[in-house]
Symmetry: C2
Amino acid sequence: MSKTSSEAGSLVVVACCCLVLFIVGAGAAPGTPSAFRDIFIGRCEDYKLGGINKLADLSELSSKNCSELWELFSVAWLGKEPCDVEPNDYKDFVESASITIPKDMSNFWDGWDIYDTVRSYSREGQRTWTLDYTLIGYLINGFYFCGDGKGGVNTESCPDDGECGFAVGAVDAFWAEASKHFSISAEGLSRVFFNSSRPGGPFQTEESFFSEFELCNLTPEKISLMDIYVLTDVRQSPQHDCDSVSINNLKSILDSKSIPYNCWDNPRDVFHQLCIDYDDHEDCTFLNDDGAVHKQSFFLITCIAFIVLQFTTKDTS
Amino acid sequence: MSKTSSEAGSLVVVACCCLVLFIVGAGAAPGTPSAFRDIFIGRCEDYKLGGINKLADLSELSSKNCSELWELFSVAWLGKEPCDVEPNDYKDFVESASITIPKDMSNFWDGWDIYDTVRSYSREGQRTWTLDYTLIGYLINGFYFCGDGKGGVNTESCPDDGECGFAVGAVDAFWAEASKHFSISAEGLSRVFFNSSRPGGPFQTEESFFSEFELCNLTPEKISLMDIYVLTDVRQSPQHDCDSVSINNLKSILDSKSIPYNCWDNPRDVFHQLCIDYDDHEDCTFLNDDGAVHKQSFFLITCIAFIVLQFTTKDTS
């Protein structure tokens, strides 16, 4: 019985090990798309035409060779073990795909809970540029990909975000190098968006792509102002604001780099965007909205009528 | 002198004819992108992964063969004279690339002056679906393309919008057929966006893709409600509204098809979107905005204070 029990225990341990190995080895995220090269080339040729990001410099784009860019990109990870890729492996690709970010357009963000907001706000690069509307980011945005360790690609599954360690592995290493380059290229007014309710605080220094690859790579001489946006969804209460410890940490780092900043709690422009889906919420009511005006006016008119009545009564008495 | 004058006149006529022929023949719009097939295949494979339009049905998309779709699409125009293409030529392609439009999501529009607004509003298909976020529209959106009349493509220049006549020619015929199909597929609540300041009125019946390919192809049994949005940019005065003749024409057509409708002049949700870039404008002020509240409150508090003072004076007198 005890032997049987021991064997069963061993089986459980072996099974668990296999399960762990399976999860780490195969990855918890989707594998490389089988048409990845076709999509990459398609996106590249598409971007070069100027319709994807209308503010991109066409003459600069005309010098990009999409097949060469694919070679430079794929050599960084294709065939390797999924986690055996470092940011520096993408250096040549990132430099070759680099385009000028227009002055005053760079838009940083940190934390997935703000991504949809900042993506809508950027208006496909027409209002601001997030990394994913540069050529570098556009080519890769939305994909998981990894090698199979045997010279090919893994189309079954790849490591999930952070699974290889921070900024390591085919996907995360790419975004680390791309983020660094985006930050080095930023010029003039810049913005950074955070969700005020982000668990752990809006600004974080540990394992944050913004903190570890963007903030530290900003060129103080090139950044005239950093607008910090601390955003809270309609119907939620802000968990942090511009005066919270988390944001004060960011301000200290900007101070130490002599980068001027403003901080805005739910500034009106972004709040209008957040209101699109909650236009009935009281916080989204327009001052000139009929209902709101009537409510305000009712009290004011009642008040004035009362005064007039007082005077009339006084006169007649 | 008169002969010379006559010759000169003939030369001018010939030159003018050549110019007209040059403009019509060569086209005033860009030519077919040299990498058109690569971009088409790339967009198609990309869309099939589900990241482009997150509400598209993945199982439905998995049956699409991108190379086959290209063949069906290109056979409609490739090699032909630029203007020698009719909507019906795209029938097979449109049917093969068709996907289900989720109920209550279809979003129509008419007039280029509203396109940016409706595109932002749709939020990449997450809020509503315009034709260009269906697979059919996504594959072709933003391109000019045409044949060379000799079995190949014209990469130099193609006819501009309407240059071959209404809904005729490689590009316009495609959008006509695609619009018709989009309309037939729409179900539940639907929306149509117009710019109130559109020259000629928001709703037009002549040479309008909405009027001639969408409105007339709506299935009354499938459309539960049509929301008509008449939109005016911030800082502009509305030239038309829900009660203007132009919109009343549309209402009559909907009545005749027994399709229920509502009409909204600058409804709050879209107006919030329009306010993002004009958040300082008085029409964009929030009721709860600090400045606005102070201004309103000032009059109310003054009024109440006056009443209180009246009573106090009365008591003490």
